[in-house]
Symmetry: C2
Subunit: 445 residues, 2 copies
């Protein structure tokens, strides 16, 4: 893969002279995990968190585009020049399906959002980066995050030169005493916690959801300590069928919550469309004020200019075809994720019954893509490598989600993209690996 | 447009507490220019630099996607699961049409690029940001730019917290004495010039191209002072029909040049697809080495994850339909831009003949989208406002491209998206404005 020209006369840069994020453990984590998956293509992957692809259809792309086009044509009184310009030219920085995103949020989440407070982004990852870049004025500005946390959050923060202060999780969400202590310590160190990143529903990597009381306490804590809540919600629709809890944004009375959304799991991953609702006021030195969304749009104009209107049309068409309800659009996917989660939890119980073999425990999320297993041994990258090579099964060492590099006994299993056959085979292989590794561990002591 | 709820209990941020780029003159420039255009929708715009849209067709989008799909299907031996996964799932960070981009560069530009050294990006703007973010380790890392320069460069640099040191332009490109002086001064100040941004062909905003000697001198200067050249090439195909000069990348023997490309003008603006060729070696502390492209991909994975494969399929399909030649694909557009440029230059000569009325001069670019006029008065934002309001014509004050805020006598005219009727009408209005403003200026003295 690497060019073979003689190196003597060629330009060389040193990694240590490039941006610090490129030398960080997070960046190495991402590389390692990708690379392991590529080296063992025949392994069953309980690692990849990608959405189920059994219902994806290339044909649907053109149909969605046509649906969106017909909608525009009607809206513009069949002025085809305007339709063409909207779908094919450079366009509005904040996006062209912002009104549709607002309707979806109202229909599916009970969130009332002014369309002008929405920026349509290149996936949720860009939305996250826009928010962090805006909030990070200088090295005193820091971010709180409930850990273990999404590796893309840690990476985006490093890219924005923004330090992340970890806040301890509990089984129902957040250790609020620890949160208060972290904030107090930060303030006494001259730091300013500007936001707290949280996935309230079926978090990556733990699958844990905040209970209603924790949601309300987090909103109060944000008021009290004057930070924003960055609520990321990629998995909210994928519950177990019981009544969903309101999102933090739906509970937000004072515009404390910046709501980050993704259509990668509910729309189409290949469209790379996400969004942010940023309805906070920003006061200018002269006293004028505008929405945080408009500041994020300024950053976006320097980063990606605008989100492809063709990609937006794909998502817009899907929203139109389902009356703006992605819950309705994903009826089949919701069933698959629910069945997969049940099957994995049952499969774990069948293979790791108490008192029979190594002591393995796991949490029981009520939805989402992930389950966390606690093993009787430390499960780092070396054991993943062995698991892939000798047992043909991939999983994710949890230490990658703590950002401190300390190996742990926990691993993350992803259930989202598997067929029933793959679940059975994958858990069989995992059980074989765990038994062998536990025996080796005991033998070695 | 702004929400009307009572402000008392709502979250307020202060602009001064957000990232510095949001308070900068560049950001205000962009806003002002956008906003003027929106306030005077009936004005003829000699300001907007967008591509000609007369040949754009919404139908082509689905056709390109089908063409690309058929290509993949053949490549994957008609394994439709792989086709679907490639086009619709999360995908390769560096992109899926990198091989096609390499073939296009070979066919149209005589550039030999290893496909592995290419990262497909969300427009050229993301490519630019990736490069700057990678090269900016700390506050000592600075960027050289030949000014006046593209406002998106200045904005991306601000977003990356990277200072831009302006280098003077000449009529054939670069004042090399000034370049050497700027570098010497920077080094004595403890700064490290990491790159020099340049548009070698038909630059925005000046329309000027580097002659062959300047290209070679710039490559030598980059060797001598150990900086990279960031070559941005959005307009290279749109020459006057004479033999095009080789790009800096085509002349590059030592991998000094990071080549930034855009499909916004040659492919489809609404796809938002660009790319970067970054074939420099990066040496890791352990002694291993890889391509700069792989470091840029790490940053991209934290910024936008990957470029929409659907958007890439649109560009891939267009490349396939024209045997990878965008010069061939743009035969009609190339003619329009050439005719428009000629018509504008002739129209200026007709309206501003020497010795007859106010003294107006202009440069005569051999291609591209832009012409620069020098007026007998300072033409700032206030006069643009008056021109729009009273004469119904928009243009761009050149001070926005210097980054120093100092008003100047120069304005930029864009010729790219106009019909012949709009050119005639626009120049008539411009001439009326200039005559009145020059008379007012004389009267006022």
């Amino acid at each position: 893969m690497t060019p073979t020209a003689p190196a003597g006369a060629l330009t060389e840069l040193r990694l240590a002279e490039l941006h610090g994020s490129l030398s960080s453990p997070i960046s190495d984590s991402m590389n390692f995990l990708n690379e392991v998956a590529h080296r063992y293509p025949d392994a069953v992957s309980l690692a990849a968190g990608r959405p189920y692809e059994g219902f994806l259809e290339v044909e649907a792309v053109s149909r969605y585009i046509d649906t969106y086009r017909a909608h525009l044509s009607e809206r513009f009184g069949h002025d085809e020049v305007l339709v063409r310009r909207t779908m094919l030219q450079y366009g509005r920085t904040k996006g062209i399906i912002h009104d549709m995103v607002a309707r979806h949020l109202s229909v599916d989440e009970g969130i009332t959002a002014d369309p002008e407070s929405i920026v349509v982004t290149v996936g949720c990852q860009e939305a996250l980066y826009l928010a962090l870049r805006a909030l990070r004025r200088d090295e005193r500005d820091v971010l709180l995050a409930v850990v273990p946390t999404y590796v893309g959050l840690t990476g985006a923060a490093e890219l924005a030169d923004m330090r992340v202060l970890p806040v301890r999780a509990t089984e129902t969400g957040i250790d609020f005493d620890h949160l208060a202590a972290v904030v107090a310590r930060a303030e006494s160190d001259g730091l300013r916690p500007r936001g707290c990143y949280v996935v309230a529903d079926f978090a990556n990597p733990t699958g844990v959801s905040l209970d209603l009381d924790s949601r309300e306490r987090l909103l109060r804590a944000a008021e009290e300590h004057d930070f924003l809540i960055l609520e990321d919600n990629p998995y909210g629709l994928f519950g177990d069928g019981s009544a969903p809890l309101p999102t933090l944004k739906a509970l937000d009375r004072s515009r404390r919550v910046v709501h980050l959304g993704s259509f990668a799991k509910t729309g189409l991953p290949g469209a790379r469309v996400g969004y942010v609702v940023a309805d906070q006021w920003v006061v200018e030195p002269g006293g004028g004020r505008g929405l945080l969304a408009d500041q994020l749009a300024k950053i976006k104009s320097m980063l990606t200019v605008n989100t492809s209107p063709i990609a937006q049309a794909v998502i817009g068409g899907k929203l139109l075809e389902h009356d703006f309800s992605l819950r309705a659009a994903n009826a089949r996917e919701i069933r698959v994720y629910r069945d997969n989660l049940r099957m994995v939890l049952q499969g774990l119980a069948d293979r790791f019954a108490q008192g029979d073999g190594p002591e393995v425990t796991w949490n029981v999320p009520r939805g989402g893509f992930f389950v966390v297993l606690t093993l009787p041994f430390v499960a780092g990258d070396d054991l993943l490598e062995e698991s892939a090579l000798r047992y043909g099964v991939l999983w994710t060492p949890m230490h990658h989600f703590y950002g401190d590099g300390r190996p742990r006994r926990e691993i993350r299993l992803s259930v989202s993209h598997l067929t029933p056959e793959e679940i059975t085979e994958g858990l069989d292989r995992l059980a074989a690996f765990v038994r062998a590794a536990a025996a080796g561990e005991r033998g070695g002591r």
